[in-house]
């Protein structure tokens, strides 16, 4: 593939503060990657989100985060036909030229709606990559994590190994699938389909270091404007505090991660603990083998007795 102009780390910066929840990225992703629809049912647990979650056939997913206080996460009950809006909604102030819509919206109560275009994080320490026994999952020249569909045999070990719940096995196709960061497009020097289609540039694509710098600047700008809760999920952390070693696709969020269904801390599970677990297990295996041998040796001189018993019954020695 001589077309690859560069082979530096490439990634996504998804700025949720400008996402309008149009789901154009989902559609673009499905079209480019030839993925089927998901049936259009609402997500369980009370949400207007009709594409549920990331799956083997949904590689970009605009998560709808309903913040309805108190006890957020419940579907707002729509007023019955013809009835007025809830009394709590204040009148839009009239007669002023410069209405502060933000202030007005905030005075209307705490209910808000957040959108976040979720995607595979292309982790530096990728759990799925560590787990894959066939080598179907590999790290590309763009430092992204890609599943080779012609190698994957659908063992399913990558699925519980992903702390973000991204990769999944398609029950009809039988193979694991997830976002490839449009590996085929990257090889042609094109930006991924979702970033291309995003009308508000909530999804930004580019060389990783450049994106991180831009994202950090964005957080600082938001803080200066008084949005103190803005932070980066997956980039800009000090060493030792990174999520899975730093996320190739990172996010600007304004609520705590669990609100978006993201873990507050994460790393490749295999990197975290496979050594200790293996040592404990192998030690136990040795103890068990020794224990079995010991149980045979307990009553004095077993070998004599065994020999005698075998001889009595005429068994071959």
């Amino acid at each position: 593939m001589s077309k690859a102009a560069v082979s530096e780390r490439l990634g996504f910066f998804t700025d949720t503060t400008v996402c309008i929840g149009c789901k154009a990225c989902e559609v673009a992703c499905k079209q480019w990657n030839d993925l089927p629809s998901d049936g259009g049912e609402l997500r369980a647990g009370g949400s207007y989100d009709n594409t549920k979650e990331l799956s083997a056939s949904t590689w970009r997913h605009v998560r709808f985060v309903e913040l309805l206080e108190p006890g957020g996460g419940n579907m707002p009950s729509l007023p019955a036909g013809g009835s007025p809006l809830p009394a709590a909604t204040p009148e839009l102030p009239s007669g002023h030229d410069d209405v502060d819509l933000l202030e007005w919206a905030e005075s209307a109560g705490g209910d808000r709606w957040l959108f976040m275009s979720d995607v595979c994080k292309h982790c530096t320490n990728a759990g799925c990559l560590d787990a894959c026994p066939t080598g179907a999952i590999f790290r590309s020249e763009f430092d992204t994590v890609v599943v080779q569909a012609d190698v994957c045999n659908g063992c399913g070990y990558c699925i519980p190994s992903c702390p973000f719940g991204v990769i999944d096995r398609d029950h009809e196709d039988g193979r694991a699938a997830k976002c490839t960061l449009c590996y085929d497009r990257l090889q042609d020097g094109l930006e991924p389909a979702c970033a291309k289609s995003c009308p508000t540039d909530s999804i930004q694509f580019g060389p990783y270091d450049q994106l991180v710098e831009r994202a950090k600047g964005r957080v600082t700008a938001l803080h200066q404007r008084g949005i103190d809760t803005a932070y980066l999920y997956g980039a800009g952390d000090t060493q030792g505090e990174e999520l899975a070693g730093g996320l190739g696709a990172f996010f600007l969020l304004t609520e705590r991660p669990e609100r978006y269904g993201l873990p507050a801390q994460a790393d490749s599970p295999i990197k975290e603990g496979v050594r200790q677990a293996t040592l404990a297990a192998m030690a136990a295996g040795l103890v068990a083998a020794a224990g079995v041998a010991a149980a045979f040796a307990v009553p004095g001189r077993p070998s004599r007795a065994n020999q005698l018993a075998s001889r009595l019954r005429g068994w071959p020695r």
Partner: protein, 371 residues
């Protein structure tokens, strides 16, 4: 741009058809795009004169992230956070058969060491018989069973599944060779190969616990130091029980030292299994709910009561006679199978518990990681 006529020939494949991996024409490219990912830079956000971003203050950015990702979790977790494993009944059944194979390998080695080579040969046959369905079960669980050989494409020490597949392959060949040597009457060779197989079996019986423990599923990952030992105990107990029943069936008389020793092995291994499970449940704290609730909980308590009944029967051995012992061995085997199912089902339950997943990740769950 408009002056230039675009040649709208697809770079990949033919128009309207599915693209192939290779280009239709060598060196073909998509028209009207800018090389070097400059397409993305068309956005006004990339301009110098926007108010989108300002000069970054690194410490402030890191602090904001730390603030959001540490401390108390929010009241609501709007999951799903992670996905449960898609494995079906074949996998826990394999854990059971593979465990019996590994445990029988231990028994064969011990019989050889104790000088009872006839029983050792029987134990090796039990091991091979238990191992034979294992690859079939694993292949049946694959999404693409025809591609099972891809498992042997690479050797990957990092991945417990890759190591397990290699271990299973090695163990299968060794135990088959040992049984073959037995049948040919080459007892020395059978003993030597059987001894190597028993060592390999030490990993075969335990790696399944490592495999589950090295995932992001809370109840598995927080049991990671215990799962291997628990699984080895189950393997030893069920392997010894299977060998004991096989020896009885082949006419080894009551009171034979090997039968007695196997009875002790069974009881010891199952008692160790129960003790380790209890300690593990304690250290799991709130996460152990996955082992008590729903279908997994029912199976888990059935497994416990089954092996407890077996232990009780063993303690009544004076009055019971040999049939009681056979019932106890069957209870151990059944209990072992139920334990395997329960652990896999508990993982599914735990991964779906968004609050448990989120709290474990944040480190605010009661059962914190044993680092």
């Amino acid at each position: 741009m408009s002056q230039k006529r675009l040649k709208l020939v697809p770079a990949l494949g033919t128009r309207g058809g599915p693209a192939r991996w290779r280009r239709e024409r060598e060196g073909a490219s998509v028209e009207a795009h800018e090389q070097g990912f400059k397409d993305g830079a068309w956005s006004f956000l990339y301009g110098e004169d926007t108010e989108y971003a300002t000069t970054a203050r690194d410490d402030e950015v890191a602090k904001a992230s730390r603030r959001a990702r540490t401390g108390a979790p929010p009241d609501v977790v709007q999951g799903p956070v992670m996905k449960p494993a898609v494995w079906t009944w074949e996998v826990p059944l394999y854990f059971w058969t593979g465990g019996i194979a590994a445990g029988s390998g231990f028994v064969a080695l011990a019989c050889d060491l104790a000088g009872d080579s006839a029983s050792a040969a029987t134990a090796r046959k039990v091991s091979l018989a238990a191992l034979a369905p294992s690859p079939v079960l694993l292949i049946a669980d694959l999404g693409r069973p025809a591609r099972f050989l891809n498992m042997l494409r690479i050797f990957k020490p990092r991945s417990p599944m890759s190591m397990g597949v290699w271990c299973l392959t090695l163990f299968g060949n060794l135990i088959a060779a040992a049984v073959g040597a037995d049948l040919l009457g080459k007892h020395r060779e059978a003993r030597a190969i059987g001894a190597v197989a028993a060592v390999v079996g030490g990993y075969l019986g335990s790696y399944t616990g490592v495999l589950l423990g090295s995932t992001a599923v809370p109840v598995w990952s927080r049991s990671r130091l215990f799962l291997g030992p628990i699984f080895v105990s189950t393997a030893t107990g069920t392997g010894a029980a299977a060998c004991r029943l096989a020896l009885v069936a082949t006419g080894v008389p009551e009171g034979h030292p090997t039968r007695l020793a196997l009875g002790r092995v069974e009881t010891g291994a199952i008692a160790a299994e129960l003790a380790l499970s209890t300690i593990n449940e304690r250290q799991l704290g709130r996460l152990s709910a996955a082992l008590h609730e729903g279908g997994a909980g029912t199976t888990f308590s059935a497994a416990k009561w089954s092996v407890r009944a077996g232990l009780a029967l063993r303690l009544l051995r004076r009055r019971g006679g040999p049939v009681t012992h056979h019932v106890a061995s069957c209870l151990y085997l059944g209990g072992g199978l139920a334990f395997r199912y329960a652990w896999v089902a508990a993982g599914r339950h735990s991964a779906k518990d968004d609050r448990a997943v989120a709290d474990t990740a944040r480190g605010t769950g009661e059962g914190k990681a044993e680092q």
